[in-house]
Each structure stands twice: as structure tokens, then as C-alpha cells.
Symmetry: C2
Subunit: 154 residues, 2 copies
């Protein structure tokens, strides 16, 4: 399945909308690009599988600094380390961004289901999507560093 241009906006808008609503944060989207094969790197990532029209995966990878700012704002309390509360909040964010993206895709006629998200933690871990298809990479910047949303389909 090719990653059509119409697929970019639902994921981009969902990410901005969820972070604005949940963390009163305005992430600045960089230029989306298509990559092949390479891995995303982060200190904490939320991953959720997608099925339906085709199979896919959505992954959001944050640096430690960036996620502590986001979850601190989301929970209304400064966060100093990646603890269980932060991991659970990353899972919740991943679920919301996945759900809001799928709702926006539904509006333009594409039906997808989301699996249960997993949260990966570990300094500088890598996430590699196992697909022969292209991977859509959406970079965002915040005042506390960058994060990346990656979407791939079969």
C-alpha cells in the first residue's frame, strides 16, 4: 500500500490536537518525509498496531527531556524521571493520538482498528518497523526538544 498524501494530515492533526488538549502544548510540525528501513530512536516510545483496510503500525518516540515536559503539563506536576506514571501517560497519549487519527481517517473513508499500545523505555532504544512499505515520518519540535511520529503500512 502506498502512503498517500491524504494519510499525512490525519496523523499530523491528531498529534497536534491531542497535545494541545492534554498538555496545553503547541508542537511545531516539521516537514513530513517518507523513509525506508531506518529506525526511530528515543528514550521512551509508544507503539500501537493498526489493522483494517491494511495492516500498519504507529510509533511515537520522545527524548527524555521532551516527554518530561509533556507529561508534566499533562499531569499538572513537574516530572523528573521516566517512572511508571510517565509510562502509563505515554500509553494514554499513544491511544488518544491513534484513536483521533483513525477518527480523522474514517471521515475521509478509511477504516482502521487499533490494537493495545505498548510503551518502550530505555535510553536511546531503537524501533524498527518490519515492513517492505514506506514509513511516514512526522517530526515535531517543542521548547524541550523533538519527538517523532512514525506511521507505516504493509
Amino acid at each position: 500500500m502506498t502512503l498517500r498524501a491524504e494519510f499525512i494530515n490525519p496523523f499530523l492533526e491528531a498529534t497536534v490536537s491531542v497535545l494541545r488538549t492534554m498538555a496545553r502544548l503547541e508542537p511545531v510540525p516539521g516537514k513530513p518525509y517518507i523513509k525506508k528501513g531506518a529506525s526511530a530512536t528515543g528514550d521512551i516510545s509508544g507503539i500501537v498496531g493498526i489493522t483494517g483496510e491494511t495492516e500498519g503500525s504507529l510509533c511515537i518516540s520522545f527524548s527524555k527531556e521532551c516527554i518530561l515536559l509533556i507529561i508534566g503539563r499533562m499531569l499538572g506536576e513537574e516530572q523528573k524521571e521516566i517512572n511508571e506514571e510517565v509510562k502509563d501517560a505515554v500509553g494514554e497519549l499513544t491511544n488518544m493520538i491513534s484513536g483521533d487519527s483513525r477518527r480523522r481517517l474514517e471521515e475521509i473513508g478509511h477504516h482502521f482498528l487499533g490494537a493495545i499500545p505498548s510503551v518502550i523505555s530505555g535510553q536511546g532504544h531503537e524501533v524498527k518497523h518490519i515492513t517492505k512499505g514506506p514509513i511516514l515520518s512526522l517530526p515535531f519540535s517543542t521548547q524541550a526538544g523533538n519527538f517523532t511520529v512514525e506511521v507505516c503500512f504493509k
Copy 2:
């Protein structure tokens, strides 16, 4: 959704069968157990989302020593580090174990779909499933150490 006993064998048998076929390896299953909330730890993990009858996730986490033995046998060449070839092979194993498990579940009347797998690498990373439900943990041992298959549903 409760994790019924009938759900244990399809995942257990699929894991043994795939490793036997692909790597001529007989992993020794330990006692399956149900846990709540805790994370799996590994040096490399394959994760795949599940949808259908309910949503879920399947995760296989290996120590470095264990995966180098398995992939070395699978590729017929000694593996010395977790490189791109090893990561891709872990993705392939994850896909096969997920597929074979779902085929076995289908035989007892349970229909599930699998998403695209992701492979996580990074020494001692943690994988946390974001679900309020129980997590089925299937420990296996090999002559090169242990690995764990975890399955959760919503």
C-alpha cells in the same frame, strides 16, 4: 476480557513450533503465569498488535545471548552482534509466531488479526503493555539463556 486457559496453548505451541522449524531449537517452556502491570525486559523485542474478537498485543523479548544463538541457527551463520539482519529476522520470527498462534486460535473458534510487527533494540529496554487486563507471561529457556513471550488483551 479474561485470559482463558484455552488461550495459553496456541501461543505456547506456536512459539515452540516456529523455533523448532526455523532454528532447529527446542525451547523449554516454563510454567505460564498471569501478571499485572509489570514490564518485560530484554535486549531485543518483537511486538505485534492484535485486533479482532478483542484488542491485544504480543511481545517476545530476548536477551542478546539468546537471540544471537537463535538467529545464528536460523540464518545458518554465527551472529556476533544485534545488527540490521538480526533485527529483521526477529521481525520475521515475531510475524511467524503471531501468525501461527492466530491460526491455532482460529481452529478453536477465535478470530484475530495481526498488525505489522516492530522490533525494539537497546540493551535492557522495558516493554509495558497498556491494559487494565491481565498479561499472560510464557517463559522459555534455551541453552543460551531465556526469552519470554507476553500476550495481553484488553
